[in-house]
């Protein structure tokens, strides 16, 4: 009945799975692998749902190259994907330092393990920070757009390039609208921040500049680019505007369909949470290494197990990178 006894009280190695080693792997490592398998299925569920939604809106899905265009220090420069590529590289390098830590662990080199773990933690923090920066850019937006009564996003184009609201709306806001706050209105009511420009203001500025055109969410199947309307069609569409959208959140998204933003926040957020928890676990193991816990135990298998988790986070990012930014 040995199989039914959970805690082996006369041996120190509780939950060790007994002496039997199925597949020649230790209990902890095997369970880490099976956890990773289940987590991989969770992530594939999210990415498959993203795929379904993208296929559902295949004729109007946002183009990732036009959404993620920022690079730190290069303000206003169109730099598609360079920053995500850098983030991907940082995560791969952190995977390498992790694997070097595992390798040093096999050779019982405590100092080396500690240094490589430390490097892994630093790269992990850089990655999460970069992701936060991506979120910040996505939330605050880059151009601004309007939403129509048909719930579609209209963007503005001048000379073939998208143009920001701030670059052509110079007329005055006439509706005297300010954000409603508790201290300047009814004390029991407040609202979220309002857009910088009013719909009427944008419409008027658009009418004043005949070189401006409207770009819709729809994709031209031949060019695989967003369709730019003629001046007459643009004016007709803009007349249907109901709100000015700046940036993206779970309800509206200046880059197109709001569900694109929802998936972005959900999938990169879930991955970012994995990275964050990986960093926390790495820090705990790092201190154990420094304190000599594994030196006394005689092996560095804990480093190997946390390493598996860390590599898995990298593995998932490889797929998120492809399906969110490239495909």
């Amino acid at each position: 009945m040995g199989a039914n006894i959970a805690v082996n009280s006369d041996k120190k190695e509780a939950w060790g799975g007994g002496g039997a080693k199925p597949f020649g792997a230790s209990y902890g490592k095997m369970m880490m692998w099976f956890f990773i398998l289940s987590d991989a299925l969770t992530f594939s569920g999210f990415l498959a749902a993203y795929g379904l939604t993208r296929f559902k809106f295949i004729d109007s899905w946002p183009i990732a190259d036009e959404v993620f265009t920022h690079f730190p220090g290069l303000h206003g420069v169109h730099a598609p994907m360079y920053y995500v590529a850098l983030m991907t590289f940082i995560l791969i390098v952190s995977s390498v330092t992790m694997v070097l830590a595992v390798d040093a662990g096999h050779k019982m080199q405590q100092k080396k393990v500690a240094w490589y773990m430390f490097a892994t933690i630093i790269f992990g923090i850089i990655f999460v920070g970069s992701q936060a920066w991506e979120w910040k850019n996505f939330i605050s937006g880059s151009y601004g757009a309007v939403k129509t009564t048909d719930n579609h996003i209209l963007q503005f184009v001048k000379d073939g390039h998208q143009i920001a609201l701030a670059d052509f709306v110079h007329n005055e806001r006439k509706d005297d609208r300010v954000q409603h706050q508790r201290e300047n209105g009814l004390w029991f009511e407040k609202e979220a921040s309002i857009s910088q420009y009013s719909v009427a203001q944008v419409q008027e500025a658009f009418k004043n500049d005949p070189s401006l055109l409207i770009r819709t969410e729809q994709l031209n199947p031949e060019t695989k680019q967003k369709i730019v309307l003629s001046r007459e069609e643009s004016l007709a569409q803009l007349a249907k505007a109901k709100m000015v959208v700046e940036g993206a959140n779970l309800h509206v998204n200046e880059y197109g369909n709001p569900i694109f933003a929802d998936f972005f926040f959900f999938i990169t957020g879930f991955h970012g949470f994995h990275v964050f928890s990986g960093i926390v676990i790495n820090i705990i193991i790092f201190f154990n290494v420094v304190l000599g816990t594994y030196e006394r135990r005689g092996h560095y298998e804990m480093v190997e197990k946390v390493g598996l988790y860390w590599h898995f986070v990298d593995l998932v990012w490889v797929f998120v990178f492809t399906f969110f930014y490239l495909v």
Binding site: K21, F23, G24, A25, S26, K29, W33, F34, I36, L37, A40, L41, S44, G45, A48, A49, G51, L52, T53, F55, K56, F57, I58, D59, P80, M81, Y82, A85, T88, F89, I92, S95, V96, V99, L100, V102, D103, H106, K107, D150, H152, T216, Q218, E222, K224, H299, E301, G307, L308, H311, F312, D314, L315, V318, F319, F321, T322, Y325, L326, V327
Partner: protein, 113 residues
């Protein structure tokens, strides 16, 4: 544990180089988007997208086999992980993407532009 762990620092750097080159290649293709690869349709998507997917699987292979040391595990342990994941993910993705195509066919005529 339970199997040989020879130090393979050199291989780690080689794998880093492979992953870096593949990623750089992906990014270059993603920025250039060569017309010959973009404007066609092979099994539901463009050739460029297939290249991205294949390169991603190449990267996943190197991460799992080398970094996660699957190549050193017992054959059936490796299969219990990889085959399960590959089968279930292919199954899910196939069904869900077919459903997505159906939703587009059914709902897009109702969208007012």
């Amino acid at each position: 544990m339970g199997h040989a762990h020879e130090s393979n620092t050199k291989r780690i750097w080689i794998v880093l180089a492979i992953l870096t080159i593949v990623t750089a290649g992906e990014v270059a293709l993603g920025i250039v988007r060569p017309g010959g690869l973009v404007f066609n349709n092979f099994l539901g998507t463009s050739l460029l997208n297939w290249i991205f997917i294949i390169l991603t699987l190449v990267k996943a292979y190197y991460i799992a086999w080398s970094f996660m040391h699957l190549e050193g595990e017992k054959t059936w342990f490796r299969r219990s992980i990889v085959w399960t994941a590959v089968f279930l993910i292919c199954y899910l993705v196939t069904l869900v993407l077919i459903e997505g195509g159906y939703l587009y066919d059914t709902l897009s005529p109702l969208v007012k532009w």
